[in-house]
Amino acid sequence: MGYTDNCDLYAAVHEDGINLVAQHVMRQRPSWFNFATQYVSDHLDLACSPVAHTIDVTDYKNPLFKVVSPVPILGADSPPVGLNFCVQLVKAEVDFYPGNIFTLPAVLNPPLPQQHLAMHVQICGGMDCPSEFLNGFLPTPTSPGEATNVQPTQEVVPPTRRLLCFCLDAYLVAHVGVQIVSGKPSLVGIVDSVDVVGIKPKGLSDNVNCYLKTTFELLLKEKLIFPISTMLFDIPLLSLATITAQLTPNPPIPNNPSIDDNQLKIFITLTVAP
C-alpha cells in the first residue's frame, strides 16, 4: 500500500525524530525553557542544571534564561524582599501512540489512547534560602500614616550562594489539531491531562498540575506551533498559484493529522487549476 493512495502529499515524522527536534529547540531557544532571576542569570553556576545551548546562542547574544522577578516574601514590605530562584525544563521526550518510550503514571490511565501522544518532561527548580541574610536584617523604619502617598521601597533580593534545587517528573497526554495561523494551516498540540509525579497533598498536586497544564497549553499554542508546510520542508507545490492544497477529509482519511505507528502523519489533497 502506498503512502499516497488516498491523498497527494503525505508527511510523517517519527517520535525519535521529534525527540531530536525537541533537543534542538531547547538548545537553540534556551530562554523558552529556562527561567531565573537576574542574579541567577548573571551567575550561571547557581542554576540547578547547566543550560545546554548551541554556540550561536551566545555568539548572537541570545539569553540562556528568561529573566523573571524574584519570588516575593509575602507580607514583607519594609523593605519588600524577593528571593532568587530558577525553573528549568531540562528534559523533554515525546511518545506517539502506541506508547513505548516511557510508562505513563497510573493517574493518566495508561496505556496511551489511540491518536494521542504522551510527553515526559523533567523540570528542575530551586530557590534561595537566605538564612544568613535574616541574621543581619534590620527592617526599614516606617512612620504611622505613611501607608499612602509614599514611594515604594526598593525590593531587596538577598545575594545567593546556592539554590535549593529539586527535580520533578511531569507527564502529559495530548493530541494534535489543526489551527489556521497567519492564513496557514498549522499543527498545534492540545493538552488533555497532566500529572506531576510525587506531589502531595492532592490539593497541591491539583494546583501544580493545573499550572503545568496551562503552561504547556499556552506554550504549545503561542510558541511551538508549526505550519504544515514545515513538515513537508516547504515543498514548492504548496506555493504554486495553480495549486490548492487542503487536508484530506474523512473519508477517505479518518484521522488527519493522525498519530499512529509511533509517527505523526498528515495527508494533503491537491487541486490543480486547469
Binding site: 502506498g2 503512502y3 499516497t4 493512495d5 525524530g17 550561536d56 514548492p236 495553480t242 491537491l270
Partner: protein, 303 residues
C-alpha cells in the same frame, strides 16, 4: 525507520516536474563553413508538454516532450556564380556611335539569406531518469561559519533532489516542407539585392532567366541530394551538432541545474523572532525513491 517520510503522488510529482520542465531554457549560436556555403544560427529553446510515467524500477520515463525553438534565426551564405552582361547599344546613332546604350553589368559573388525559422520543433522521444539527492555546499561559505552564519549571509547548504537522466533521446528537428518556398524566396531576394537600382526590369528578367529556377540553383550550389527540409534538418541537427548539444543540455539541466525539490540544511523550523535566532534542524541521510505510484523522500534528524 526513518525519522521523516514525505511522499508525493504521481499527480503531485507531475506538478513538481512541470515546474522543472517549464524552467528549462537553452540558447546557442554558431557559425561554420561547409565548403560551398557557410551558415550561422542563433537559437533559444524551451520544453513543452510530454508524458511522464513513474516506474517500479526506481525510474521515471518521459516521452514526447516538445522541444520548441522559440527563436531560430538562420543565415545561409553562398557564392553565386559570376557572369556578366556586356555593354551594348540599344539605340544606335545613325551618324556615328550610340544614342542609348546598355553599360553592361556583372553579378556573382557571395550572397546571404536570412531565415526566421522560429517555431520549429523537435522532441525528446525518450528520457529515462532516476532521482538523485545531492548535498550542496555553497562554495562562498567561509570555513569558520556556523550554519546560522551561513544562512544570515545567504550561503546556506542545501539538500537537493535532481532528476538524473540515464538516457536522453532527441528526435531530428522537424523542418516542414514549406521551407522550400521560404528558402527560395530568401535566396531570390538576396539575388535581387545584387542588382543596382538603375537596372531595368527587363534586364533583371534576362539575368534571372539565365540563372534558371532558383530551387535548382540552390540544390546545385549547396549540393543538396535530399529535400531542402531534410537537408536543413541535418545541417542544424547533425552538422552543427545541435541535437547532441540539446541532449547534453537537457541531461545537464535535469541532473544538476534545476532540482525537483530543495531545502536548506539545517532546515529552519522556527523563524528568528524578537532577537532570538531561528531554530534549525539538521537533516541527514536524505534518500529519494520512486515507484509507479509515488515519490518517497526519507531522511533522519541529525543529533
Amino acid at each position: 525507520m526513518s525519522h521523516i517520510t514525505i511522499a508525493a503522488s504521481a499527480k503531485a510529482f507531475q506538478q513538481l516536474f512541470n515546474e522543472v520542465e517549464n524552467n528549462f531554457s537553452f540558447s546557442k549560436s554558431d557559425t561554420a563553413n561547409f565548403g560551398p556555403f557557410s551558415a550561422s544560427y542563433s537559437v533559444s529553446v524551451h520544453l513543452s508538454g510530454g508524458n511522464l510515467q513513474l516506474n517500479n524500477d526506481n525510474t521515471i520515463e518521459l516521452q514526447n516532450v516538445d522541444i520548441v525553438f522559440g527563436t531560430l534565426d538562420f543565415k545561409l551564405c553562398l557564392d553565386l556564380p559570376g557572369f556578366c552582361i556586356p555593354s551594348f547599344c540599344l539605340v544606335p546613332d545613325p551618324w556615328n556611335g550610340c544614342l542609348v546604350g546598355f553599360p553592361g553589368f556583372c553579378i556573382g559573388g557571395p550572397i546571404c539569406a536570412d531565415l526566421n525559422l522560429s517555431g520549429l520543433t523537435s522532441q525528446i522521444t525518450d528520457l529515462k531518469a532516476s532521482l538523485a539527492p545531492k548535498y550542496y555546499i555553497d562554495p562562498a561559505r567561509l570555513p569558520g561559519w556556523t550554519d546560522l552564519d551561513a544562512e544570515l549571509n545567504g550561503h546556506s547548504n542545501q539538500w537537493q533532489i535532481y532528476i538524473d537522466p540515464v538516457l536522453v533521446n532527441v528526435a531530428p528537428i522537424d523542418v516542414p516542407a514549406t521551407i522550400d518556398n521560404i528558402l527560395v524566396n530568401a535566396i531570390t531576394n538576396a539575388i535581387d539585392n545584387l542588382f543596382p537600382s538603375w537596372l531595368p526590369g527587363w534586364a533583371v528578367d534576362i539575368i534571372m532567366a539565365f540563372l534558371g529556377p532558383i530551387a535548382n540553383l540552390i540544390t546545385d550550389l549547396l549540393g543538396i541530394t535530399t529535400s531542402i527540409a531534410e537537408w536543413l534538418s541535418n545541417l542544424l541537427g547533425n552538422l552543427f551538432g545541435l541535437l547532441s548539444l540539446l541532449e547534453t543540455a537537457i541531461a545537464d539541466y535535469f541532473a544538476s541545474k534545476y532540482p525537483l525539490y530543495q531545502f536548506e540544511d539545517p532546515f529552519p523550523i522556527l523563524p528568528a523572532s524578537g532577537g532570538l535566532i531561528p531554530v534549525k534542524i539538521p537533516i541527514r541521510n536524505l534518500a529519494a525513491t520512486i515507484d509507479s505510484q509515488e515519490m518517497i523522500v526519507q531522511a533522519n534528524v541529525g543529533a
